[in-house]
């Protein structure tokens, strides 16, 4: 967290309240590309309802959304469009990498795939799985909610960890 912690009692209560309001009214931008989209639909629908988390209303304009759900493999052809959508979103914004193709590229280690969207966007929550079960998605959503709660009023949040260089080709 940011070091200048000169929050007073009232300001911190206010931040908590704003965080609480934000986390229970998530407007997602579902950037759905591939198979994970089917599990996204299943999470959003009756059985594993995501509406009970307040996140049930997708906004199909990036200007109106605050969470970018990147669902499914990102190829190099669509990557500039994804970056542009991220740039168009207004602060505060969060990014969820849904599915292992967005986390690390999955098993499509070839000329066409971006190996992890964190190479082009800062990601807040990674939900691995191919595709992740809806229960995992809801778990990831709850982690996102904790993160949203912890965002300070100025929008500062812990910087995302740099991707570790564990693989040397």
């Amino acid at each position: 967290m940011d070091g200048t912690d000169n929050a007073s009692f009232l300001t911190s209560r206010l931040e908590e309240a704003i965080g609480w309001a934000r986390k229970y009214s998530i407007f997602q931008y579902p950037f759905v590309t591939a198979c994970c989209g089917m599990e996204y639909m299943a999470t959003a629908c009756s059985h594993y309802d995501v509406d009970r988390f307040g996140a049930g209303f997708p906004r199909f304009s990036p200007r109106q959304a605050d969470v970018l759900f990147v669902v499914g493999t990102i190829s190099h052809k669509i990557a500039p469009a994804l970056r542009r959508i991220y740039d168009q979103m207004a602060e505060p914004k969060w990014v969820v990498a849904f599915g292992v193709c967005t986390c690390t590229g999955g098993f499509y280690d070839n000329y066409a795939t971006v190996m992890g969207i964190d190479t082009i966007l800062p990601v807040d929550v990674y939900i691995p799985g191919c595709p992740p079960r809806p229960e995992m998605v809801l778990d990831g959503l709850m982690k996102l909610q904790e993160r949203i709660q912890g965002t300070r009023k100025t929008g500062k949040r812990p910087p995302p960890e740099p991707r570790p260089d564990i693989f040397q080709p």
């Binding site: 591939a34 089917m38 639909m41 299943a42 059985h47 052809k77 469009a81």
Partner: protein
Amino acid sequence: MADQSNGSPHAHAADMETRDMLLNIGPAHPAMHGIIRILAQLDGERIDRADVEIGYLHRGFEKMAETVDYNGVMPYTDRLNYVSPLINNMGYCMAVEKLLGITVPERCHYVRVILAEISRLADHLTCIGASAMELGAFTVFLYMIKAREYLWELVERVTGARMTVSYCRVGGVKGDLPADFAEPCAKAFAETGRVLAESDILLTRNRIFVDRMSGTGVISAADAVSYGITGPFLRSTGTDYDVRKDCPYAIYDRLSFDVPVGTRGDNMDRYLVRMEEMQQSMRMVEQALRDIPPGPVQVHPETGRQIPAAEMVDLAKVGNIAAIRDDSALTCPTLEGSGREERPSVATHEKRVFLPPKEDTYGNIEGLMQQFKLVMFGHGVRPPRGEVYFPVEGANGELGFYVVSDGTGNPYRVRVRPPCFAIMSALSKILTGDMIADMIPTFGSVNMIGGELDR
């Protein structure tokens, strides 16, 4: 800009100079079908020209297939048409089995057909649900996804995964149907039938739905054939071609089912064809479950008594070994240790292709050798040099696999003939002349699946 050369102060609409508008739809757009870009040139609301650009989900399936071995391609085939993955699995496996020249046991054919039809049900539910949602019928979408969840639970019972299953193997399937499959299947189908009846009431004679779907997205039969379109799209134009009936494979020639054929080639006909196909799929699965040859030997040949595994564990825990000494445990077929009994019914006898049951791998030297020869690096399933093409009926049409082998353990070339590729290539022709609002139901009825289109 008004043309006032005739002197009157009011310009006639016909004399106005207008410009066409170029509207870029996509690649990220709300219709949750995937990413595709349509550059529409609009004259008012009418589409004069539509350029369709694809390739945003190209993941290099064909290149990856050359780097892994024949069974390793299976997860990649799942993710081709990801709403009906078992059909892709089955198509690829049958192509490789044709190349190898082996046959699988009959029960295995039945199991594959049952799961393929369940997959087809899930695909049609998703397609109709999503296209109904885009027309505003959100409830129908929720109902159909509810039905799909029941089907996915059924698939999970058999394969272990809801969607990307990798259930088939070259030479068979991963495991047999569970012994108690028929009852949950009947329940899931009862639910699905109820959902279909409700959706039928909500949609088929709904004035808004009919107005938006009839007469839009029309394609003639001759055009459809010349573009290579197959599947429900072709059948809606009146041409009766279904790979299951015309070039039957597996046990489709023993099942009696009807192939619904439309007349006008518009979106409404495609919707009706898909609804009817779902009923036929359920009918096929019920027949198959009735006629399926008997399953794994239920009784251990040596002792003659099988008791459920949990009971055996309970008896053993209290020390009652004598009661269970000569019995065998009835375990879930997807669990290790129960392979030997179900092996003859789900896998080919050809030892060079299918892994032995674990009892044999750890029990005798022949099984160990068979395991090694299939698993060790450099060995594995090695079909003879050759090329084959094997078509199956995917949910969108004829899904063909063209496999070329050079005799090594990795395929040399795997080509998928994607059914929606042909439909998408005709899309610009279909959209021309329609209103821009008609693009939504048309695109919805194409059932474009990005994984299959772009591979």
